[in-house]
Structure formats: C-alpha cells, structure tokens
C-alpha cells in the first residue's frame, strides 16, 4: 500500500487534485490577502517542528489542525487527492512514454535505493532537531516547496525542480518514500490508530523512531554554531536569532509576498550557505520597512518572524543606520540633510557645532531600528544599515 501511493482510480484522483488546485485559485481570487500565506501553514509537519524548535506557536499553527485530523482519519488522502506537489509529481511521472501510472520506482538511477522509511526518517529527524532548536528538513516540506515556488523568481524553484527531476526519473518515489509530510502522515496514523491497514504498512519500531529523532537532534547540535549564527544579512523585523531562523525557516516565501514594500528577498549568498533562501532585506530608493506594517510576522507560518504587535515590531532592531560622513553632502556644506525628515523614528539628527560652525549628521542608536528609510533617499549612497 505505502508503495502504491498513486493507487486507485487515477482519473478521479486527478479530478480531485485539479479541483483542489482550482479551489486554491478561487480562494486566491476571492481572498487574495489570505491565500498567499495559508498554504505552508496547512502542513502539520511544519507546524509541529517549528513550534517545538521555537517553543512558540503562532496563530497560523491552528491552520494545520484540519490536515492533522484528515491524516488520522484517511491515511494519505491528502497526498492522493489534494496535494499540489502530488499533482505535479504524478504528471511528471507520466512524461516518459510507455510508463504506467502505478509503475513506481524505489531507486534513483539504477543503484541508489531509497528505503520506504525515508520520509518518516526525515520527519523524525526534523522533530529531533527541533528539540535542540534546528529542525533539519523542515524546508523539504512539499507545501513549503510549492509555496516558495510560487513566490521566488529563480532561486527557490530549485527545491521543486529537484522534486520534479526525481519524479521524472523515478515516478512516485518522492511522494511515497521521501516526502517528509508523507512520512509525518505515516507516523501520525501509527500513533493514533495503531491497528489500521495504513499503520501496519508503515510499521516502524520504537527503537528506530527514537534513533531517527536522536540522530536529528545530535546532527543539529553538531552543526558548527558559528556557521549558523554568523549574521551576514539584514533580516525582517521580529526574526528570531540567526541559528533558529536558518533552521526554522521553511523558505516558503510568505514574508516576501506579504511585504508591501517588496524589500524582503530570498538570500542567495555563497558565503552563507546555511542561510540559502532565508529572507533578507534589501532597501531601495523609496522602499523600506514601513512603520505601520508588521505583515511579514503575521504571514510567517513557522514563527521565525514573530508576529509582533506594531509597537514591538518598530522596536525590533533590524540593524543600525551608519552614515559615512566623509562622503556626506551635508557634512561637506552642500545642500542635503534629507535623511533627517525621511527618518520615521527621528533617529537621525543634525549636529551643529558652534565651534566650527558646521553641521554634521548623527544616528541616535536608541531610536534607530534599521528600517532603511534613510538608505534610499541618500543621493550619495553613503547611508547603510548594518546588521547588529
């Protein structure tokens, strides 16, 4: 059973999935604000692991409850009838001519055999890792991949592209054996209804469960702290510390979509591999982190960007503005100083010296939250926000 993930009437399944996709589209059309954020939050795999790793659950956590019940009641119903990634992989699997739908493979290429418990292992390792604060494979959640694919220009299509390649090479392999959300379902059914057919097919010993989780925890703990904690980029307001962010972020792109200024982008930086596709801020001439917005925190399904109230969000320090006074027009007695009225927090002040009768600019560290309003307006580009 577990290997026959695409068993049953293929056309009715396809109908269900396409309808599900259309339903998503319809919701998107009717209720554009909400649909963009809910998809990754539906996954119990994401919800549980991120809640454990952050010791915190946002309101979006509740969105995973329906799927949790569905999983327990109807094992793998989600995979067969609703999952958008399932639709993609199944379609891709049929690309090769002469291949039957249920012709599932268990190897990548000819030799690399993927054990049927891989998905369960990934889910457990993520859970184990999240106990020590770094959920290892959270990013591999199919809903996160699909959501990320919908958001990011090129970068995060990578994850879904790999899934597609796997599906073309070995149809059904991703869904039946690798998918951590699938693995989570197997585990949930075993836990909640130990004697049903689905659970018997996904038998895993207690020892193995413990081992997988322990392995995830140990591995997470072993990742050199400085690799994860090194802050290279400015993060959205309210983000948890770098380590938790890099582990807990599922790269779903909700924050990118939610940002009205469009300043949140997935990071692609060869010097920050652990932070691949983790959101970072990039200020432009007019766009900065608005003082009346905290949408990214409320859109984050994992809570790595905390849903702070507006007041607290504005107090969260993204970074601190630095002005290179050697190139600052005002300091050179030229007409400027526009960063002063631009700053929504009154953090940049003119400092007049009666002695030299010159004016220079100063950033008041206690008032600056690194929103970046000053960055774009500077005509000589000497204002930057530095991570702290």
């Amino acid at each position: 059973m577990s290997n026959r993930i695409f068993a049953g009437n293929p056309s009715s399944r396809r109908l269900a999935r396409v309808s599900a996709l259309l339903a998503i589209g319809l919701v998107a059309w009717l209720w554009p604000a909400a649909w963009r954020y809910v998809l990754p939050a539906l996954s119990p795999h994401v919800a549980v692991c991120s809640a454990v790793s952050l010791r915190f659950a946002s309101m979006l956590f509740l969105l995973s409850a329906p799927m949790l019940f569905l999983m327990i009641l109807r094992h793998r119903f989600w995979c067969r009838h609703l999952c958008p990634v399932g639709l993609i992989t199944e379609t891709c699997g049929k690309l090769r001519r002469g291949r039957k739908v249920d012709d599932e493979r268990h190897t990548i290429g000819k030799h690399i055999r993927i054990p049927s418990s891989t998905g369960r292992f990934l889910a457990l390792a993520s859970l184990g890792g999240s106990v020590v604060g770094y959920p290892l494979f959270l990013w591999a959640d199919p809903l996160a991949l699909f959501s990320g694919f919908c958001t990011f220009s090129q970068a995060s299509a990578v994850g879904l592209a790999i899934v597609i390649l796997i599906s073309i090479a070995s149809p059904g392999l991703w869904c039946s054996r690798i998918c951590p959300l699938g693995g989570t379902q197997d585990l949930m059914v075993r836990l909640a209804r130990p004697n049903t057919r689905g659970s018997r097919n996904t038998e895993v010993s207690q020892r193995r469960i413990f081992l997988a989780a322990a392995l995830g925890a140990v591995f997470s703990a072993l990742i050199p702290a400085d690799v994860l904690a090194r802050k290279r980029h400015l993060r959205p307001p309210g983000t948890v510390d770098e380590t938790a962010l890099k582990g807990g972020c599922i790269r779903c792109g909700n924050c990118t979509r939610s940002c009205p200024s469009g300043i949140i982008e997935p990071s692609v930086d060869s010097r920050d591999v652990a932070g691949f596709l983790v959101p970072r801020l990039k200020f432009s001439r007019t766009d900065y982190c608005l003082e009346d917005c905290n949408r990214c925190g409320h859109a984050c399904p994992t809570g790595v960007i905390r849903p702070l109230p507006l007041r607290d969000k504005n107090r969260h320090v993204i970074g601190i503005a630095r002005i290179d006074l050697s190139e600052c027009l005002l300091t050179m007695d030229a007409e400027c100083g526009v960063c002063v009225p631009r700053c929504p927090h009154g953090a940049i002040v003119e400092q007049f010296s009666r002695q030299s009768y010159t004016t220079t600019l100063k950033v008041i560290a206690e008032k600056c939250n690194g929103c970046g309003a000053c960055v774009g307006i500077c005509p000589t580009k000497v204002v930057t926000v530095e991570a702290v």
Binding site: D333, C336, E350, F352, Y357, T359, I377
Partner: protein, 450 residues
Amino acid sequence: MESLSRRSFLRKIALAGATALGPGIVGAGQIYEGSKIVEAERVYRGGPAIIVDGKVIQPRREVPVICETDVLVVGGGCAGVMSALAAARTGAKVTLVERYGCFGGLWTAGLVLIVLATHVEADQGLKKCVRGIGDELLNRLLKIKGGIINQGPGMRDPTSDPEATKYVMAEMLSEAGVDILLNSWVTNAVMEGNSIEGILFESKAGCHAVKAKVVVDASGDGDVFGAAGAEHVRHIHRIGLVHRLGNVDRIAASKSGDKRSSPNLSSNTPLPSVRWVNMQGPQGDCLDIRTLTQCELDGRRAVWEKLKKIQQTPGREQVFMLDTASQLGIRASRTLTGLHEVTFDETMANKKYADVVAIGGAYAFVGNRACQIPYRALVPLKIDNLLATGRCVAADNLMLNYTRLIGPCLVTGHAAGTAAALAVDSKCRPRDADVAKLQRLLKAQGAYLG
C-alpha cells in the same frame, strides 16, 4: 488684558484713534529741498502708539491706499519676479512689492547663485524643464559678460552673478510695465471674510495699503497667507549665511600643500577670481527675530574665522572676503496647506497631475526625474483670491527641499502669475480658474508641462 474691561479698552482705543481718524499723519509738513523749504510728502503712521494701562496700544486709523491693482505680487525674489512678469504678460495690471532695494531675493541678496533642478537627463542628452520666462531670464544673463556660467546647450544647473541678475530682473520688470514698490515690507493682509482684498506694507513713508483682485504670496516665508489666516505648516530648518571669496586665482597651488587639509573654497561663480561658499548653519525657527539676529551675528563671525584660517594657509594669503549675503539663507519657514500637497512618495512614483502647472528638473535626492507640481499646491484651502508660489507652496517636509530650489521657484512663479492674471481676466476666484486654459496659456508662454 486682565486689568482692562472690554468696554473701557474700546473707549481708550477710540480716544487714541480719535486724534487720527482719517489717514493718520505724523511728520507732515515742510522739508528742505536745497535751500528752499517746500511742502513734504506725508508719512502715514496714524500717530504714535500710546501706553494704556502699561500696554503698548497701536492707534486705530484708516490706512491710505497707495494703489489698486489686478494682481499684487508680494516678494521680489525669483518666484515673485516670475509671477509679476507672467501676470503682466498675460495682460493684468501688476504691482510688485519688495522689502529690499533689489530683485532676486535669496538668489541675489542671499547669494544662493546656483540655479538647481533645471534639467533632466534624457536619452538624447539633457532635457530642459525650466523653460518659459525663467529660461528667458537665464538666457538674457548669458548675453551679459560674467552674467552666468553653465547656461546653454549641454549644460545644466547654471550659476549666475548676483548683480547681473538683479539688473536683468529689474529690466525685464520695467519692460513688462510692472508697477514696482521697493523697500516696502509687507506686514499684514487686508481681509473681507475669507477673501484677501490687499495688503499693508511699511516703508519710510509709513503704512500703506495696496488693494488687489488677486494676491500672489511670493514672500518665501508665506507672510501673506500667514497673516490672512490660511492654514499652513511651520518648519525648523538650517539658517546659513553664505559668502563669496575674492582673489582665489592668486592662490599659489604649489605652496598650499595637502589639498584635503586645506580649507574648502567651494564652487565657481561667473567671476573668474571669485568663489562662492555655502553655509549650513544651525537649525532654527526662521520667524523668530532673536534667532535670526543671533544667526546673523554668529554666521558673520564664523565666516571671518574661516577666512582667517584660509589667509593663514601658505599660498592663500591673498584671498579676501568679497561679500556676505545681505539676507540670511532661510531654507524653510512656512509652507501652505494647499488643496494638494507635493509629497515625496508621489514624486518618487512619477505621479502625473491633470492640473500640472510646473515641472522642475533632476535634483540630488529626487534623482533624475522631472517633478510635477500641480496647480492645487498653490491654492489655499479656504482663503480666496490668494495664491502661494516659490518656497512656500504646499509640499511635505521632504519635498520642500526641492520646491525651495531656484529652478522649481522659477516655474511655480511663472505658473502663479499666469494663474492670477487668468483669474482676474475670467472674473473668478483663482481656485475656480479654468486649469486647461491656464495650461494652454503657460504653454503659449513657453512653459514645459510634460
């Protein structure tokens, strides 16, 4: 007024005024003209102020009307001169009241000199935004030797000579037949309900009124709309005192040593041996007389201290102080609360206004972008027969750093003048003026409206 009941106060005022009902006259009488004594022009003060219960009370009296006009322009700075010229050329009878003895305001008396935001960079080189009367003025300066630099094809943001500018402005105003009142400081508005009917100004001849159908406030500080009770925003900004240095061509470069450690001699002017030096100065309320006084005193001292250092630098001993500005560099004081406010966000979004009447060129913080200013930014919310122009048009506290530049002031000045004349001609309030017709007129006068 706690010690004075309203009734007794009014009685005392009436007593004080009784001596001077009708145009109040002090110093009327005789005057020496050479060896002869002749009848003198009257000085209208309405009698001296008096002390009533320890309070200084101004006499209540009728103010003589020196003239009645169609369009009254208050302030002879770059925006005011443009307004007066535009209104006169559109066919209105124009009076221009200026507090100093020359035209140009901060451009000339304030020694700002550089005309910023005149062009934008386009695909085929530079595109001129400041056209029409402003450009005509700049081109006339070009005909004067040492009148202007960086003006002409392929050049932008010219720097003019202040004396040449004063002269050309006066010539242009005379040619256009504008009635000019110099050395006249506008002190108050004359109102009838929500409608401005004229202004009061003080001069050596005392207090006079000018009655007008439309008043253009080109005072920079918004003195007229401030007095008329129009809604406005006040600003604290830097107050500088700029100066010019002479003999900079006698600097022996070989002796001056390390360039970076030597004092900054700022930018070129049309005069070969003269450089112009900017000053930021302290932030202050430009409507506070103690602040202004202190800025004059401190600024002058600072400029001289700076010069001493320059003169002590080897090779620069010959540098001298040519002049300091006759008026402080006031950057912002009041801005009108208009029917529409020019905002940074709209400007950055390249907002196009259906009622655009002025377009300025590129400038540092707005980038390479032609910035539109709508007619509504010149029109007060409530007060009728009044238009604002120049530095005090409706702009947010970022964009006022753009609208205060000479380039934008030239174009808003032109727009306000033509609009005022159009309103007079159509016998309507400026707020009801036909904007499409205004735009046609402006275009016919050479203005660039996109």
